[in-house]
């Protein structure tokens, strides 16, 4: 199946006084993956709900797989698969019963629905739990079933709203593997996420949303260049030791910054790290923590807007 395109032109959505999505434009080429990156309340879910016809637009235009969202919502619904933020499956039914139900609703015959359910259960690592009620599933299993449920019938455009939020690292990795598989299949994907790492890993292009507006757009590489890439982070609690460390590091390296008890040195290679550790040892500074830190969404926002957001911390690469 070939992917369909998504065109969004100055889309606007308000809730009373609050503008949730403000003149957002972007386009997703067929067969590519777009990551909508933003914190809570950035307008990601509203965006997905507008594009999947769950919410009417208040302005602008959106075309999904050739169907105008406002004029031909039925056409849009026949072209999309949606996996929302909540695992929207029936928790009393078993995994298999869920998939058969969705298949039958999408007009598969009894046998086809059963066969498709079987395939999906196997492909998503749910075969063993197929006949257990969903209630007994782990968070990761629920999410996988949820994704499987939206793929019972394959669609040219797939929306994934925060597919890994709330999952543990193992669940997240498993989800990434499955989503990568979808991309390889040629579907067009629009994925929302709070994690820069996730967007980086899965998306061809990233649109950064902040308070309903697009504040940056580009490939993961372009975006990371803007943020400045990974850094070497040094925590020193004792102020006078910290001052000494900053002074010593600045003498030998470029771009050393200090904020709070955190000193950052650009460059995330082992050489930089070794150098930092050596300098600290020479000065007799005992750091509380030294490590490599990949840029988080927080850093993206800081780089783009100059203010810190309350974003979930990402698992850093600590030594």
């Amino acid at each position: 199946m070939h992917g369909g395109s998504v065109e969004v032109d100055r889309l606007r959505k308000t809730f009373g006084e609050k503008t949730a999505v403000d003149e957002v434009s972007f386009s997703v080429a067929p067969g590519t993956v777009l990551g909508l990156l933003g914190g809570n309340g950035a307008g990601k879910t509203t965006m997905v709900n507008c594009l999947s016809t769950l919410l009417p637009l208040d302005g602008g235009r959106a075309v999904v797989a050739g169907h105008d969202v406002a004029e031909d919502p039925a056409g849009v619904r026949a072209s999309i698969a949606l996996t929302g933020q909540f695992a929207a499956v029936d928790d009393v039914l078993t995994g298999r019963q869920n998939l058969v139900l969705f298949g039958r609703l999408l007009k598969l015959g009894r046998k086809e629905a059963a066969a498709r359910a079987e395939e999906l259960l196997a492909g998503f690592g749910l075969a063993d739990a197929a006949d257990q009620p969903v209630k007994s599933y782990s968070g990761g299993m629920r999410r996988r079933l949820d994704l499987a449920a939206s793929l019972v019938v394959r669609r040219p455009v797939i929306f994934l709203d925060e597919p890994t939020t709330g999952l543990d690292p193992v669940g997240r990795r498993e989800m990434w593997r499955i989503v990568s598989g979808l991309c390889d299949d040629g579907a067009t994907l629009l994925l929302t996420t709070q994690y820069l790492e996730e967007a980086d890993r899965l998306a061809d292009r990233i649109v950064v949303l902040d308070q309903g507006r697009v504040i940056a757009e580009g490939t993961p590489r372009e975006l990371k260049d803007q943020v400045g890439g990974a850094v070497c982070a040094v925590h020193v609690d004792v102020p006078e030791q910290r001052e000494r460390a900053v002074r010593a590091l600045r003498e030998r390296m470029d771009g050393v910054t200090e904020s709070g008890d955190l000193i950052t040195v650009p460059g995330a290679d082992a050489g930089t790290l070794a150098e930092v550790v050596r300098v600290l040892a020479e000065e007799g500074v005992e750091p509380d923590d030294v490590g490599l830190r990949r840029p988080t969404l927080d850093d993206v926002f800081f780089a783009l807007t100059g203010r810190r957001e309350d974003c979930e911390e990402q698992e850093g690469m600590r030594l």
Binding site: A88, L105, L106, E112, R116, L120, R154, G181
Partner: protein
């Protein structure tokens, strides 16, 4: 995994997408049929699938079954014990003849609380959004919910009636009257199902849904001529008791099981159903569409 995907694509290409894009080739005959007819057939199929899902949920939830079956039955026996002799003397008939129909009706109205809470859970959990983003009939979710819950009401009514049979309740008017008995139960349930859906869509919490529904249902039960004859209520309250749909449908059920007037109470029950339909169906549809 790759292979299974490719296969899945084939399944779908042949049928699902086929009925849309390549319909002319694959199942031309079916697609050619008028759109309206096709969508009516779909709505019916979707409604029964979704109704089946609701019933399955019910049958797999012991707690729900216990609540919706046991509570009315406990009420039946408590009332029989407490008021049995007292009221029986006044009405010159076996109290169970009067009580059983009312308990059956109460179980139907009480079931509406389950409808409201169940639909609220679906809305909250996101499964309704999933249905809404699928290319199925816009209102199939509502019709499926109502159809499934009507069947549930019928099941619970059958169980309640069977237990009442053990306590002496009998059908004496022939099989047609039995069918009429359960038809009135469904008509009565209909009056409460739609307000329950409206409550589910307007409330902000599960407690709010059950709170909004429990109070009127309980009030209706005690302000009916079911436990106590209408004449025993204070004069000013009697018109309320007589106009109560539970009293009216109760009269109809007594007529259909023991003999007595049927046409008039059925007509009044029907009037209640028409009124509820006129008010709550458009409201429910509008709330659902606006979500």
């Amino acid at each position: 995994m790759k292979e299974s995907r490719a296969e899945g694509g084939r399944v779908e290409g042949g049928r699902v997408e086929g009925s849309r894009a390549e319909g002319g080739r694959v199942e031309g005959g079916r697609v050619e049929r008028s759109r309206a007819e096709g969508s009516r057939v779909n709505t019916l199929a979707e409604t029964s699938l979704l109704a089946g899902r609701n019933l399955r949920r019910f049958l797999r939830s012991p707690q729900l079954i216990a609540d919706s079956v046991m509570f009315p039955l406990i009420l039946l026996f408590v009332m029989l014990l407490v008021f049995g002799e007292l009221v029986g003397e006044v009405t010159r008939g076996a109290y169970i003849d009067r009580l059983a129909p009312v308990i059956v009706l109460f179980s139907a109205a009480y079931g509406a609380v389950g409808t409201g809470v169940g639909f609220f859970t679906d809305l909250r959990g996101g499964i309704v959004d999933r249905f809404r983003a699928m290319d199925i009939g816009r209102l199939s979710v509502l019709t499926g919910r109502v159809a499934g819950d009507l069947v549930r009401v019928l099941l619970v009514a059958a169980v309640t009636t069977a237990v009442a049979h053990l306590a002496g309740f009998r059908f004496t008017q022939g099989p047609q009257a039995v069918a009429g008995f359960f038809a009135v139960v469904l008509l009565f349930a209909w009056i409460f199902l739609w307000p329950a859906l409206v409550a589910a869509m307007s409330a902000s919490s599960e407690q709010a849904v059950s709170g909004a529904l429990n109070t009127p249902v309980t009030l209706l039960l005690f302000l009916s001529s079911g436990f106590v004859p209408a004449e025993q209520f204070p004069g000013w309250l009697q018109p309320v008791v007589r106009a109560n749909p539970l009293s009216l449908a109760g009269d109809a059920l007594v007529g259909l099981s023991q003999g007595g007037p049927v046409a008039v109470p059925v007509l009044f029950t029907f009037a209640w159903a028409v009124a509820a339909t006129a008010i709550f169906v458009p409201l429910a549809v509008r709330l659902y569409r606006r979500r």
